[in-house]
C-alpha cells in the first residue's frame, strides 16, 4: 500500500468517525464499539468487497455481514463516504419516519441482512457461502463479529459446520476491542487464548492490529488453506480516536449532549480533550 493510499484511507476513517460522534447525540448510540471497527469497515468496503454500484443485488457480488449490529453508526458512516447513503439521512436517527436506528436493517441499501441479536450472522453468512460453493462462484463472504459476541454458542456451532463443509470462502473478522458492554471480556468469560480456540475448531487464523491498514491488507490478501474458514482477529481499541473515552468500561451506550459532541469532534481532530459529564447507560 502506498503512503498516498494509506493517507486517503485515514482521512475516510476520520470522516466516518465524525459521523459516528454526531450519531451519539440525542437518543445516543453504541459509540465505543462503532469507533473500534472503523478501519476494518473502511478497508473492507474500499479494498476487499467487490460490489456493483448499479446493482447492489448482483449475485456475483461479495458479501459483508455485520453481525455485531450495534456498531451500525460505523456502517452507515462508511456508506455515506462510499456515496451509497445520503448524509442528510443520518439526521433522521431514531425517527420512526426513517429506518436509521440502533441496529442495521435492509431498508438501508447496502445492508445485506438485519442484525442486533448476537451470534446470528455467522450462520446466515455460512448459508450464503455454501450456496456460492454449490454454484461454483467465487464470491467472498465476510462476517464481522464482536468479541463479546463469541460468548454465544451459535458462533462456534457455525464454525464446526462451516469447516465440515469446507467453506474457505467464508471469513470471520473479530473486532477484538476487549470489552462487552460494561465489562472487560477477560474479567467476565475469558476468551484467550482466542487464536488457539479458533484453530482447534479447524479455522485458519491470523491476528492483526485492526487499526493498521497494511496489516489489514496482508490479512485479507494472504494465501488461504484449502477447505478452512478464515478467521482474522483484529485487535482494536474501543472508542478509538477519542482518548477521553478509549478503553473505558463505562463508555458503552452513550447519549451525549450537543456541547459534548462538539467537544468530542474537537478531540477527534487532536485539539482539546473533551470533558464529558453525561452518565453512561448500562442498558441494551
Amino acid at each position: 500500500m502506498t503512503n498516498e493510499q494509506s493517507a486517503e484511507l485515514q482521512s475516510t476513517a476520520l470522516r466516518v468517525r465524525e459521523h459516528i460522534i454526531r450519531l451519539s447525540a440525542g437518543g445516543g448510540c453504541f459509540i465505543g464499539a462503532s469507533l473500534s471497527c472503523v478501519e476494518i469497515m473502511v478497508y473492507l468496503y474500499t479494498h476487499v468487497i467487490r460490489r456493483n454500484a448499479d446493482n447492489p443485488h448482483d449475485p456475483k457480488r461479495d458479501y459483508l455481514f455485520l453481525s455485531k449490529g450495534h456498531d451500525v453508526p460505523a456502517l452507515y458512516g462508511t456508506f455515506v463516504e462510499m456515496g451509497w447513503l445520503a448524509e442528510e439521512r443520518l439526521s433522521n436517527h431514531l425517527s420512526t419516519q426513517d429506518s436509521i436506528y440502533w441496529h442495521p436493517n435492509r431498508q438501508i441499501p447496502g445492508v445485506e441482512f438485519h442484525s442486533g441479536s448476537l451470534g446470528h450472522l455467522p450462520a446466515v453468512a455460512a448459508g450464503v457461502a455454501l450456496d456460492c460453493k454449490l454454484r461454483g462462484s467465487k464470491n467472498r463472504v465476510v462476517v464481522i463479529t464482536g468479541d463479546g459476541e463469541l460468548n454465544e454458542g451459535s458462533v462456534w456451532e457455525t464454525l464446526l459446520v462451516a469447516n465440515a463443509y469446507g467453506l474457505d470462502n467464508l471469513t470471520l473478522v473479530v473486532d477484538r476491542n476487549m470489552f462487552q458492554a460494561n465489562i472487560r471480556t477477560e474479567e467476565l468469560v475469558p476468551l484467550e487464548p482466542l487464536a488457539d480456540k479458533f484453530k482447534a475448531f479447524g479455522c485458519e487464523v491470523r491476528r492483526i492490529d485492526g487499526h493498521d491498514y497494511e496489516q489489514l491488507e496482508e490479512a485479507f490478501d494472504g494465501g488461504e488453506e484449502k477447505g478452512k474458514v478464515k478467521v482474522i482477529i483484529a485487535d482494536t481499541v474501543r472508542g478509538k480516536g477519542l482518548p477521553s473515552i478509549e478503553a473505558r468500561a463505562d463508555r458503552w451506550f452513550c447519549a451525549f449532549s450537543g456541547d459534548e459532541v462538539a467537544q468530542l469532534l474537537e478531540e477527534l481532530h487532536g485539539n482539546k480533550e473533551a470533558s464529558i459529564e453525561s452518565e453512561t447507560l448500562v442498558v441494551r
Binding site: 440525542g26 437518543g27 449490529g69 431514531l94 425517527s95 420512526t96 429506518s99 436506528y101 440502533w102 441496529h103 436493517n105 438485519h114 442484525s115 442486533g116 441479536s117 448476537l118 451470534g119 463479546g148 459476541e149 460468548n151 454465544e152 454458542g153 462487552q180 458492554a181 460494561n182 465489562i183 467476565l188 468469560v189 447507560l281 448500562v282 442498558v283 441494551r284
Partner: protein, 309 residues
C-alpha cells in the same frame, strides 16, 4: 422502592436466591458487590444461563434470571420449556425492555410475542406489572411461589398508586357501563389517561390493570363483559396470543362469545423503531390516540347499526 432494592432485600433474606444475568446488568448494577458468589453473570449466553438456572433449582435454589426480554424468551425458549418447564422448576425470568420499551432498537430487540410463547408452556406463570410501584407490590409473591414465572419487567415510575396485589387477581381501577379498558404493563398509564379523556366525552369507562396474564383473572374479564357494552384490550404485543386472545378464550369458556371486543395491539407487524414518544405516536398508543381510536370504533358501529341494545 426500586426493582433492584426489592431484589436485594429479598436475596439477602433468602439464601436460596441466586441472581443471574446473561450480561445485562441494567437492573442489577449493585448486586455483584452485595451478593458476591450468589450473583452469576454467564456472559452473552441466554441458553446456558437458563440451563444452569435449572441445575441450580434442582439443588434447591431459586434463580432469578435477567436478560433483555426477546433474548431471554426466544433465544432460550427451548431451554425454558424443556429444562425449566417440563421439570416445573422455580426459575424466575425477568425480561427487560419488553414491548415498546425497546424503542429504537429495532425488530431484533422487540419482545412482542413473549406473552404468547411463555403462556404456552404448561405450568409457567406470566406477569406484567404496570410500573415500578406495581412491580414492587407484585414481585414478592411471584418470587415466593413454587412455579416457574416470566415477568415483563417495567421499572418506569408511574403516577398511579396501585392497590395491594392479590395473587392471580387483576386490579379493577374503575367499572364502566359503556366500555372497559383491559390493559397490562407499561401502557397502563396511557390507558388511565385515555380513560380520563373518554369520561370527559360523557362515556362511562372502566379500567382494569390485568397484572397476571397467566393465571388470568377470569372473573374480572367476565364482570367487565357483562357490565359494559364494549371491551378494549390494550397491549404492546402482537394481536396473536396476547391479551386479546386470552380475553377471547375466557369469553368463549363462559359462553359470552357475543361480547364485543376491540383489540388495540400490533397487528401482524413489528413496530417502527424510534424514540419511545415517537413510537407511541406512530403506532397509535398515546392517550389521545387510544381515546380517538376507541371513539372512531364507537361511531362507526353506531352508524352501521351493529349494536343490538
Amino acid at each position: 422502592m426500586t426493582y433492584e432494592e426489592l431484589l436485594t432485600e429479598t436475596a439477602l433474606k433468602d439464601e436460596r436466591i441466586i441472581v443471574m444475568t446473561a450480561e445485562n446488568r441494567a437492573l442489577v448494577r449493585n448486586l455483584p458487590r452485595i451478593l458476591g458468589a450468589r450473583f452469576v453473570d454467564t456472559g452473552i449466553t441466554e441458553q446456558t444461563m437458563v440451563g444452569m438456572a435449572a441445575g441450580l433449582a434442582l439443588r434447591g435454589r431459586i434463580p432469578i434470571v435477567h436478560a433483555l426480554a426477546p433474548f431471554l424468551t426466544m433465544r432460550a425458549f427451548e431451554f425454558i420449556r424443556t429444562d425449566v418447564g417440563i421439570a416445573g422448576l422455580p426459575v424466575k425470568l425477568s425480561g427487560y425492555i419488553p414491548g415498546f420499551l425497546s424503542d429504537g432498537n429495532g425488530p431484533t430487540h422487540q419482545a412482542i410475542e413473549d406473552i404468547a410463547i411463555m403462556r404456552g408452556i404448561p405450568g409457567m406463570e406470566v406477569y406484567s406489572p404496570a410500573d415500578e410501584d406495581d412491580s414492587v407490590k407484585m414481585l414478592p409473591s411471584i418470587w415466593a411461589a413454587p412455579a416457574p414465572a416470566y415477568v415483563r419487567i417495567n421499572h418506569k415510575k408511574g403516577t398511579f398508586v396501585h392497590a395491594p396485589y392479590e395473587p392471580g387477581k387483576a386490579e379493577v381501577v374503575a367499572e364502566g357501563k359503556d366500555l372497559t379498558l383491559l390493559v397490562y404493563g407499561f401502557l397502563f398509564d396511557n390507558a388511565l389517561q385515555a380513560r380520563t379523556l373518554l369520561e370527559k366525552e360523557g362515556l362511562s369507562v372502566g379500567l382494569v390493570n390485568m397484572r397476571s396474564l397467566k393465571p388470568v383473572d377470569q372473573e374480572a374479564i367476565v364482570r367487565a363483559a357483562r357490565g359494559s357494552r364494549l371491551l378494549v384490550t390494550i397491549e404492546d404485543h402482537l394481536q396473536t396470543g396476547g391479551l386479546y386472545s386470552i380475553v377471547a378464550e375466557v369469553l368463549l369458556r363462559h359462553r359470552l362469545a357475543v361480547a364485543e371486543v376491540l383489540p388495540l395491539a400490533l397487528d401482524e407487524h413489528w413496530f417502527r423503531p424510534g424514540l419511545l414518544g415517537q413510537v407511541l405516536e406512530t403506532e397509535g398508543f398515546t392517550p389521545v390516540a387510544i381515546a380517538s381510536r376507541i371513539k372512531r370504533h364507537l361511531e362507526f358501529d353506531l352508524n352501521s347499526h351493529i349494536y343490538v341494545q
